[in-house]
Symmetry: C2
Subunit: 116 residues, 2 copies
């Protein structure tokens, strides 16, 4: 389950809509296709992309293929994003500390100036 594929899968509005639909519960290919003004084979491609990203799994029983969401893949992405934000926030903290240090030094200098 590569980040490339998950992000890639989610970069298309049709596929995001499918994911959103599957959040509500399993669905057959036909059900998934209904809301879209799109030929079935086109939609199937999207489903396959979602599958190869790991976001969706499907199983065929009889002539119906039922798709369901794989929450772990969404979680992978969330984890990545959260990690980036954390790094960013740590950096902000460091910057803040640096600014505080500068302020203190400036105060010290001001005192020295006064007492001169």
């Amino acid at each position: 389950m590569r980040l490339d594929h998950v992000f890639g899968a989610l970069s298309d509005a049709t596929r995001r809509a499918i994911v959103m639909r599957l959040c509500e519960g399993e669905a057959s290919v036909g059900e998934l296709a209904k809301p879209f003004d799109m030929a079935l084979p086109s939609l199937m491609k999207h489903i396959r992309i979602l599958e190869s990203s790991g976001l969706v799994t499907s199983e065929k029983t009889g002539r119906v293929r039922t798709c369901s969401l794989q929450l772990e893949a969404l979680a992978t992405v969330e984890v990545w994003l959260a990690a980036q934000r954390e790094i960013w926030e740590q950096r902000l903290d460091r910057m803040e500390m640096y600014v505080e240090k500068l302020k203190k030094e400036e105060k010290a200098r001001a005192r020295r100036r006064k007492s001169r």
Copy 2:
């Protein structure tokens, strides 16, 4: 700042690496290019994609262009993902409640059977 573009921007490993680098702080185009075995124009394309997604902004002073990360865009994605997860979890809750209901009904039926 469209979800399409943000996800699309993050679907490429090079661009994710740039984002990760920028989490540590601002950087010039040249600095960003260093770690990659890639011609500058190719890297520039990535930077432009990141910019058009809203993930990165840049400003040119003199002959140096300095890039920095725009955390809000990352947040947009996190929000979307979190929203999906919430829907999913609500659904799980509903299912759990449904199962509980079934269990209770079954118990009630069992009692009735016994007392018959």
